[in-house]
Amino acid sequence: MLVRWNDIGIRRTAPQLASWDSFRREMDRFFEDFDHQKPSAFARGAPRIHTKNTEQALKLRIEVPGMDEHALRISLEENNLTVEGTRALNTPEGYEPHRRERTDLEFTRRFTLPFRVDAEKTNASLQHGVLTLELHKQASEQPRKISVKSI
């Protein structure tokens, strides 16, 4: 994933550009970050997903940095939920890449929900690169309190 700038070609063909070399070395030092730790497995293609199940609803939290609403697709068929997302990272126009640690992402997650969803109350929101889904359970699926009458 790491793309290093290679200046061998320049050195060979144009030795008079030696000053460029020192500039390049300077630039290369930008690569020396202080932590030699490898970046975590996070963002290797599998988004971090968390859930929260309550009596009324199931909530999902999916980390989707760099995706806007057009990059995400959510569909619900009966109790099958599918969430899809993609992002393609291109070198911005006119820039040279020095370092590429971030990756393109493409994921599909399917969930079979153990309850019927109240489609009217379903909502999805995207904030700071996190998708939150709220799937309300149909009233008939929610636990009911049965009052006990003393006879």
């Binding site: 020396e32 970050d33 030699h36 730790q37 996070f42 968390h50 820039y95 040279e96 700071h128 690169g129």
Partner: protein, 122 residues
């Protein structure tokens, strides 16, 4: 591995979960160095972009949330920035959980076109 003082925990890390090195892309053109990094779930007010001498720190803490098993992460990374960067010309913005830092180069570091004067031959 840990000789550099910058790697030692500092006061800003105290009482926070261990920092996760954030993945970055670095690009360059004549005008600037562009750095992009993923900070999902980090609100702008929790983001810290700081240049201290030649060290650029990018750091952000995820917001807490009620989800089961969710541990908010602190993403962090420190870079040495080349001298060609003008400290007055650094801009950062956050969009869809992606931080973009633009490090403008100082005028002296930008490539310059030198005007060639044409001297008519006699």
């Amino acid at each position: 591995m840990n000789q550099n003082p910058i790697e030692q925990p500092t006061e800003r890390m105290d009482h926070k979960p261990a920092a996760v090195p954030v993945r970055v892309d670095v690009f360059e053109n004549k005008e600037e160095i562009l750095l992009t990094a993923d900070f999902p779930g980090v609100p702008p007010e929790q983001l810290n972009v700081r240049l201290d001498g030649s060290e650029l720190l990018i750091e952000g803490a995820q917001q807490k949330s009620e989800f089961d098993g969710f541990e908010p992460l602190v993403f962090s990374r420190v870079f040495r920035v080349p001298r060609t960067v003008d400290p007055e010309q650094i801009q950062a913005e956050l969009q869809n959980g992606v931080l973009r830092v633009q490090l403008g180069k100082s005028e002296a570091a930008k490539p310059r076109r030198i005007q060639v004067t044409n001297r008519a031959s006699q």
